[in-house]
C-alpha cells in the first residue's frame, strides 16, 4: 500500500465519521425523508460474497474482520460510521494479497485469465487490460475511468518486469485493487437530479450497490451494472424490473442471512464458550452448527416457504445436525448433516427463542441467564434498548451456589427486591424466566437443583405458560414486526432510522401486515419506496470535502 493510498483512506475515514452526523445539519427540502450519502466499510460477508462471485467459493478469506461498533442494533450501521486505522488498512491489503495469491495459483488462474500473455516473464499490457478492466469494474462496482485503467495496467507491467513474472504482476494489481478505498468502501455518489433541478440523487452505480447489498448482500452483477449504466434504475419500470429479477435469485438467501446474523448478534458466536465440564455435549461443533441452524431455519421459513415472519417464533420446523442432536436429544443419522427436522406438537421447542443458538449466546458459560435472554428478546427482536446495569450491583445473592434459592426465579425475585435493580429487571427477567426450561447450553430441563421450574410469565400484557407459549406472546407483540421493519430499512439505507422517518416505518409495517408479513415482500416494498434512494446532500463545504477525498 502506498503512502498516498493510506492518506486517502484516512481522509475517507474522516468523511465517514463526519458524514452521517453532519448531513442532518442540512435538512432536505424534498417531501421524502432523506439521509446523507454514506460511505460504508465492506463487511466480512459482503467481502466473502464478492470474492465468491468473482473467483469462486473455494477462495479462502478470513472469517473475522476487524470489529466495529454495533450502532442502533446493527453492526452494519457501525460499518457506515467507523474510522479505520493504518493497521486496518494493512490488514485489508493482506486480505487482498491472500486472495490474489490464491486466484493466480498456477492450477487456478487458467479459469480467470481471458488471454495468454506474450511473455510469461514480463509485461503484456493488452492481456493485463483484459483481466483488469472487467475485474476492476466488479470490484469497484462501477466502470474504471480510462486514467484508472491505464494506471493499473501500467502498475501491472511495472510489477511484472520487476518480479519477472506476468501473473505475479497481475496478482500485485489485484491485491492493490482489493486494498483500494474504491473497493473497501461502498460509496454513495450523487449527481444532479434532472427531474428536480437543484436537488441531488444517487447515481446509477450507487443505486445498484445499495440495491444489491440490500437484496443480495453481494455486489451488483453484470446485468445490474448494465442497468445502472443505461439509467434504468432511475425509472420506476426499470427499477421494478431489476428488483423482480433480483428477488427471484437464490442470492436473496445471502441477504436474509446477512441481515439476521447482524440483527441477532451472531458475532457473539465467535466468542461463545461454554464450560464443557458442566455441558460436555457443547463442543466446538455445536457453536458453529447452532448459528447455522438458526440461519437455515430463518431462510427456509422466510424465503423458501415465504412464511409469516411472526411464525418464526412458533415454528416447529428447523434443521438438525449431528453435533446439535445430542444437545436437543433427538435422533439423527450420523452420516448426514443438517437434515430437516420437525419438533412434535408436544415438544417444548417451538420457534427461534427455543433454539440452542439463541439460548446459548444469551447465557453465561456455566448457567442460564434469564436477564440476558430477556435482554436479547427486548433488544434484538423488539428494538427496545435495555439500560446497562449500574457498576455497583451486588451479585452475591445470585451467585451463591450454597444459597437457599434453588431456581433462577427465586434468585431473581430476591435480586429484584432492590428497587434500583428492579426497574430494569422487570423489563427483562419475566421474558427470560419463560426460557428457564433450557439450561445455559440450551438443553431441556424440568428442574433446577431439584425444584420444578416455573416458566410462566407475562410479556407486555400477554400471558404465557412455557417456552412455546412465550414464543406465541412474542409473535403477537406489535413491536416484533415494527422492529424488523425498522432494522431492515436502516440496514438497507446504511443509517439509523431518524425521527421524521417514523411514519414511513409505520406505513411499511402496515403494508407488511397486508402482505401476510412476508419478508421478501417487505424487502420489495422498501426498495421500491421513494425513501430508499432518497438522499439529502449538503450544498456547501462537505460536498467539496467529499470531492477532495475521492
Amino acid at each position: 500500500m502506498t503512502g498516498r493510498a493510506r492518506r486517502i483512506l484516512i481522509v475517507a475515514a474522516l468523511v465517514v465519521a463526519l458524514g452521517a452526523a453532519g448531513a442532518y445539519l442540512y435538512p432536505r427540502k424534498a417531501p421524502v425523508p432523506a439521509g446523507p450519502p454514506t460511505v460504508k466499510l465492506i463487511s466480512q460477508p459482503q467481502y466473502a460474497n464478492t470474492v465468491a462471485s468473482l473467483f469462486g467459493e473455494d477462495i479462502e478469506i478470513p472469517r473475522q474482520f476487524p470489529p466495529v461498533n454495533r450502532t442502533e442494533g446493527l453492526l452494519s450501521l457501525g460499518n457506515a460510521n467507523t474510522a479505520i486505522t493504518p493497521v486496518v488498512v494493512e490488514r485489508f491489503y493482506r486480505y487482498g494479497q491472500s486472495v490474489a495469491s490464491q486466484v493466480f495459483a498456477p492450477g487456478r488462474r487458467g479459469y480467470f485469465m481471458p488471454c495468454t500473455p506474450a511473455s510469461a516473464t514480463g509485461s503484456d499490457d493488452q492481456c493485463a487490460r483484459r483481466f483488469i478492466a472487467p475485474i476492476g469494474r466488479h470490484l469497484y462496482r462501477r466502470a474504471l475511468s480510462d486514467a484508472e485503467l491505464a494506471g493499473l495496467v501500467g502498475l501491472a507491467g511495472d510489477a511484472a518486469s520487476r518480479l519477472g513474472d506476468f501473473h505475479d504482476g497481475l496478482a500485485y494489481v489485484l491485491a492493490a485493487m482489493m486494498a483500494s478505498p474504491e473497493f473497501v468502501f461502498i460509496w454513495d455518489n450523487v449527481e444532479e437530479d434532472p427531474a428536480r433541478p437543484g436537488e441531488f440523487r444517487l447515481d446509477g452505480y450507487s443505486k445498484a450497490s445499495r440495491l444489491s447489498f440490500f437484496l443480495w448482500n453481494s455486489p451488483p452483477d453484470e446485468l445490474l451494472l448494465k442497468a445502472a449504466e443505461q439509467g434504468e434504475l432511475h425509472s420506476r419500470e426499470g427499477l421494478e424490473a431489476s428488483v423482480a429479477r433480483m428477488l427471484a435469485s437464490p442470492r436473496v438467501d445471502l441477504a436474509i442471512r446477512g441481515l439476521f446474523a447482524d440483527m441477532l448478534r451472531f458475532d457473539e458466536f465467535e466468542n461463545l464458550a461454554k464450560d464443557t465440564v458442566i455441558y460436555p455435549a457443547f463442543g466446538p461443533g455445536v457453536t458453529r452448527d447452532a448459528a447455522e441452524q438458526m440461519l437455515r431455519t430463518i431462510v427456509d421459513h422466510l424465503v423458501t416457504r415465504e412464511g409469516d415472519y411472526r411464525d418464526l417464533f412458533v415454528t416447529r420446523d428447523t434443521f438438525m445436525s449431528n453435533a446439535l442432536a445430542a444437545i436437543y436429544q433427538v435422533p439423527i443419522s450420523p452420516s448426514q448433516d443438517f437434515v430437516p427436522h420437525r419438533f412434535p406438537a408436544d415438544s417444548p421447542r417451538a420457534g427461534l427463542l427455543t433454539q440452542v443458538g439463541f439460548l446459548a449466546i444469551h447465557s453465561h458459560p456455566g448457567r442460564s441467564s434469564p436477564t440476558r435472554r430477556g435482554e436479547g428478546v427486548r433488544e434484538t427482536l423488539l428494538c427496545q434498548p435495555v439500560p446497562l446495569p449500574p457498576p455497583n450491583v451486588d451479585f452475591s445473592n445470585f451467585e451463591d451456589p450454597a444459597g437457599e434459592f434453588k431456581t433462577a426465579r427465586e434468585r431473581l425475585v430476591r435480586h429484584s427486591s432492590d428497587t434500583a435493580c428492579a426497574n430494569c429487571h422487570l423489563i427483562t427477567d419475566p421474558i427470560g424466566l419463560g426460557l428457564e426450561n433450557f439450561d445455559g447450553a440450551g438443553q431441556f430441563r424440568m428442574t433446577e437443583n431439584g425444584a420444578t421450574i416455573d416458566a410462566s410469565g407475562v410479556l407486555d400484557g400477554v400471558g404465557f405458560e412455557d417456552p412455546a407459549t412465550l414464543g406465541e406472546a412474542v409473535r403477537q407483540n406489535p413491536a416484533t414486526t415494527e422492529c424488523l421493519v425498522e432494522r431492515m430499512f436502516a440496514y438497507g439505507v446504511n443509517r439509523p432510522v431518524a425521527a421524521p422517518e417514523r411514519p414511513l416505518i409505520q406505513r411499511l409495517n402496515k403494508g407488511f401486515a397486508r402482505d401476510g408479513y412476508r419478508v421478501t415482500g417487505l424487502m420489495k416494498a422498501i426498495v421500491l419506496d421513494e425513501a430508499f434512494f432518497a438522499v439529502a446532500v449538503p450544498r456547501d463545504p462537505p460536498a467539496d470535502q467529499l470531492a477532495t477525498a475521492r
Binding site: 436429544q329 439423527i332 420444578t452
Partner: protein, 377 residues
C-alpha cells in the same frame, strides 16, 4: 426435550407431565430415562470382566496372585544351565512343551509346576444364571446369592485381568476407539421405565464413533447407526422385563464381537446370555452374563492376543489357566460329560443413544437366529 416425547405410544400421558411425575416420585432419575416412542437406546461405553477385588487382594487371593509364565518357566527348568539349554534349543520361554510346543497354543502338553491360584471365598459379582445356590456360587457384596461366575475363579487372581491390569485397559481403549465392537442395546415397547413386564431387548453392533466429553465420560444422546454389514451375526433380539428400574432379558445364545490389541477380531460365544442393567439418568450399567464357550474363550485370549502379549505383558501362565478353565467349567457337558462352557459375566456401562434403524436393511436380516455356522466351537 424430545427424549420425553413419546409420539404414537398412546399409553403414556403428556410427556411433560410424565417426566414431571417421575422426577418428583423418583428423585429426578427418570427424567432422562424416559423412552422415545417406547424405545430406550444405549451405546456401550465401558466393558470389563466381572471381577470383584479387594484393595490388596488378600481376601480373594490369600495365597497371592497367580504364578506367571516366567515363574513356571523357572520352576520347570530350575537351574540356569537347564534354562539356557531350553532357550538354546527352543528360542523362547513360552515354548515349554516337551518338543518345544508353545504352551499358549498347546496348553495340555505339560502341567504347570506351580498350580493355579484360583479365587477363594464366596464373594463375587455377576449374575445368577441358573437360579440355584450351590457350593461354588458367589454372593455379591450387596448380598445377592447364587451368582454364577466361575470364570472369575480362574482369572480373578491373574494381575493382568484385575482392575488396573492390561486386559481392562485394553478393553477400555478398544471399546471407545473401535467401532467394530460398538455394542448397541435397544429396549423397545417400553411403557414404564420402573416396572414393565414385557419389553423387547435388541442387541446390535453400531457403526459410528462415540464422543467422550472433557470429564472422560461418553456424551449421551448421540445417534448410532446399526451396522448391518455382517448380516444378523451380531443382531440378537430377546424378550425382557423391567423390575424396579432393572432391565432383565431372557437368555439367548449370543456372539459378542470384541477387538483386542492389534485390531484383531475376537468373537466370544456366550450361551444363555442375558442382560441385567440398571437404568439411570445417563444410561445404564450392569452385567451381560452367560456361559462362555471355553475353547472359544481360550482361542481368543491365546492365539489372537498372542503368546508374547500374554506371557510378557499380561504375565499369566497358560497350562495352569487352561486346566483351571476346564476344571471349573460348569455347563454344557459334551458326550463324555465334560463341561464345555464356564459361567461368567461382563460388567458394562452404557450411555443413552439413539439407535438409527434402516428398515430396508433390517428387513433382510433374521434377528435372533441360532449361532451361525462356523462360529460354534
Amino acid at each position: 426435550m424430545e427424549a420425553v416425547s413419546v409420539a404414537g405410544s398412546g399409553i403414556l400421558p403428556r410427556p411433560w407431565a410424565l417426566a414431571l411425575l417421575m422426577s418428583v416420585t423418583h428423585g429426578g432419575l427418570a427424567e432422562t430415562v424416559a423412552p422415545v416412542d417406547g424405545r430406550i437406546g444405549l451405546v456401550l461405553g465401558a466393558l470389563n470382566h466381572a471381577i470383584h477385588q479387594t484393595a490388596d487382594g488378600k481376601a480373594e487371593c490369600p495365597e497371592g496372585f497367580h504364578h506367571t509364565q516366567h515363574d513356571n518357566f523357572v520352576a520347570q527348568f530350575p537351574t540356569e544351565a537347564a534354562r539356557e539349554a531350553m532357550l538354546e534349543r527352543y528360542i523362547y520361554y513360552t515354548n515349554r512343551g516337551p518338543n518345544g510346543e508353545n504352551v499358549f497354543f498347546h496348553p495340555t502338553v505339560i502341567e504347570d509346576p506351580l498350580p493355579l491360584r484360583e479365587v477363594q471365598g464366596d464373594v463375587g459379582i455377576g449374575l445368577d444364571l441358573d437360579g440355584k445356590v450351590n457350593p461354588r456360587s458367589f454372593t455379591s457384596p450387596e448380598g445377592l446369592a447364587g451368582i454364577d461366575n466361575q470364570l472369575y475363579r480362574v482369572i480373578g487372581c491373574l494381575p493382568g485381568w484385575r482392575h488396573g491390569g492390561t486386559i481392562e485397559g485394553s478393553l477400555k481403549t478398544e471399546v471407545r476407539s473401535s467401532a467394530k465392537m460398538r455394542m448397541l442395546v435397544e429396549l423397545s415397547e417400553v411403557d414404564h421405565t420402573l416396572n414393565d413386564d414385557q419389553i423387547t431387548v435388541s442387541v446390535y453392533r453400531g457403526r459410528d464413533g462415540i464422543e467422550v466429553g472433557p470429564d472422560g465420560n461418553l456424551i449421551p444422546f448421540r445417534s448410532q447407526r446399526i451396522d448391518y454389514r455382517e448380516g444378523a451375526r451380531y443382531i440378537h433380539r430377546m424378550a425382557g422385563r423391567i423390575v424396579d428400574g432393572v432391565v432383565i432379558s431372557e437368555p439367548v445364545d449370543m456372539i459378542v464381537p470384541l477387538y483386542g490389541p492389534f485390531n484383531i477380531l475376537q468373537e466370544f460365544v456366550l450361551r444363555d446370555a442375558r442382560f441385567q442393567l440398571r437404568l439411570d439418568g445417563r444410561g445404564a450399567q450392569g452385567y451381560l452374563g452367560g456361559y462362555y464357550d471355553v475353547e472359544r474363550w481360550w482361542l481368543n485370549f491365546t492365539k489372537m492376543w498372542g503368546a508374547h502379549f500374554n506371557a510378557d505383558v499380561t504375565g499369566w501362565s497358560a497350562p495352569a489357566t487352561y486346566a483351571g478353565l476346564r476344571r471349573l467349567a460348569d455347563a454344557y457337558p459334551d458326550e463324555e460329560g465334560n463341561n464345555t462352557a464356564i459361567s461368567g459375566a461382563y460388567k458394562l456401562e452404557f450411555v443413552r443413544a439413539f439407535v438409527i434403524h434402516d428398515e430396508a436393511a433390517e428387513g433382510a436380516q433374521v434377528p435372533g437366529a441360532p449361532l451361525a455356522q462356523g462360529v460354534s466351537p
